[in-house]
């Protein structure tokens, strides 16, 4: 995958904009997912994921081709989300959607007129609840938890994405886990 991406990046650098479309196709789901789990809102996640790809395109000449592209791309996406969270007004939560539900409904592929089996409803509620608790984490813990447990990235990769020392990443993961444990222990 990395080799293919590098080939496409070289094409983009030569002015072939369409090659960037292939890069978007390869990474759109993962970037969207990072944004969605960071922000807890589909609409905002789409905005931020789009912005991440636009920034990657505009700055592609600054990308060091020797490095892993996904690390660089995820860094752009997480930084955008962290900035967005910090800029949010406290009253944001008053009109926020219930996090976690919309995306799941859309992709559960159940016909609209079919009644949901009970366990699916429970599962959707549980998923919404988990997302809500992730959304309550301070952004510095949220980023590491999303990258570690939803994107399943290694501690070293997370350290590179967030440009933080490995020790700091570990501390944040530990605190994030403890904070979530307190919220989710009676589930």
């Amino acid at each position: 995958m990395e080799a293919l991406v590098k080939k496409r990046i070289k094409q983009v650098l030569k002015g072939d904009q369409n090659a960037f479309g292939e890069i978007i196709e390869l990474y759109k789901d993962r970037v969207f997912q990072i944004c969605y789990r960071m922000l807890g809102n589909r609409h905002e996640a789409e905005d931020m994921a789009q912005e991440a790809f636009i920034r990657a395109y505009v700055n592609i000449s600054r990308f060091n081709i020797e490095l892993k592209f996904s690390t660089w791309l995820y860094r752009i996406a997480t930084n955008l989300c962290i900035d967005r969270i910090r800029k949010k007004k406290p009253d944001y939560y008053l009109d926020a959607e219930v996090p976690g539900t919309e995306g799941l409904n859309m992709y559960s592929q159940i016909p609209a007129n079919t009644k949901l089996p009970e366990e699916d409803v429970e599962s959707l509620e549980l998923q919404a609840m988990i997302q809500q608790e992730i959304s309550k984490l301070p952004e510095k813990y949220r980023a590491v938890i999303v990258l570690k447990y939803i994107e399943e990235l290694s501690l070293n990769e997370i350290s590179e994405i967030l440009e933080l020392p490995l020790g700091t990443v570990k501390t944040r993961i530990h605190r994030g886990r403890e904070a979530l444990r307190k919220q989710l222990r009676y589930v």
Partner: protein, 82 residues
Amino acid sequence: MTCPTRIIEYMHEYLDEEIEVNHREELKKHLQECEECAIHFHQLKKTIALVQSTSHIQAPASFTENVMAMLPKEQKRVTFRR
């Protein structure tokens, strides 16, 4: 709680798969003796399982076309020709 704070640290080392053998042994022994810490450890593992159980979601349809339509035109070509 009278348990040494290092027990919680060992739990996290274990969860990061970076625990040393002697820490692992001490943790294991402690968890067999201390119910409170055993529950704590169980809750941490359950929390991780819950977070991991969230469905993987996909980018909206037409995401790529939308981004492509928003890309600045010609910019790369100009820099390249310089």
